[in-house]
Amino acid sequence: MKHILEADSIQLEFDNRKILSDIYIKFETGKITGLIGRNGQGKTCLMQIIYGSLKCERSIRINKINQPKTFQIPELLMYLPQFNFIPKRLSLKRIFNDFELDYSLFEKRFPEFASKYNSSINNLSGGEHRLVELYIIVKSKSQFAMLDEPFTHLSPIQIEKVIELLKEEKSNKGILLTDHMFNHVTEICDDIYLLVNGKTHFIKNMEEIEKLGYTKLESIQ
């Protein structure tokens, strides 16, 4: 079944400075939606507002039904923050049990975790730690997932595998992601929104990205 999450009417101010004011963003089952923007434009704030952990005026609708407390219902929406969020003392066994995921499938996809079922997350490298966090958010049973800088700390091989995972998983859920690795974002995203001066712009062609001052296309080709 196809699900659609829409967010708009968002007003966010810090110290009388408008951070977000003219927002419309939509993500849906079967698509990976990218949110790009320069540093400090409010991408993370927007994700936290949609998730509900940052309070402000907002309207979040799932399948046209208002959802004021999305963060209280993991079956609807899960969120990967840009920092490590799993308590360091927890073992992989405990984490996979908590999220009701099959470790053998994870191990099959990422063989480097073969002997680490009983290891605590604290004993993993930065890349492995991020991979576990990303995997549990992407594979858990929810209608939507938001990923804030999912490729941070990952090696090129891990990124390739993650891209494969996201492409597979988008048939089960709507995915919104933000990352500065522009090439990867454009490679996997079906839709892209650019956040500039508190407003979202739906990108119809790559030239718009340059016109809106996010990047120079010649520098990324």
Partner: protein
């Protein structure tokens, strides 16, 4: 009866000390471990649920131990 006559002042002192340490715990956990709340939120457990449960259990153990100490005295 003797508790209210003789020991209430020391209980009140210990009780307020307990409240102060709980407030400090609340403050430091919220500032040092705030990122880890996302783990529980992704499991559907809100911050409020975590805190209310923890504080009720902690205070109950405290009151139970005070009661045991008073009984054994």
């Amino acid at each position: 009866m003797s508790f209210w006559k003789n020991d209430f002042r020391s209980f009140a002192g210990i009780f307020w000390l307990k409240i102060i340490t709980l407030a400090l715990t609340y403050y430091f956990i919220n500032s040092d471990k705030s990122k880890e709340f996302y783990y529980y939120q992704n499991l559907g457990v809100s911050k409020i649920t975590l805190w209310v449960t923890t504080l009720i259990i902690d205070l109950s153990i405290f009151l139970f131990l005070i009661f045991v100490a008073q009984t054994l005295k």
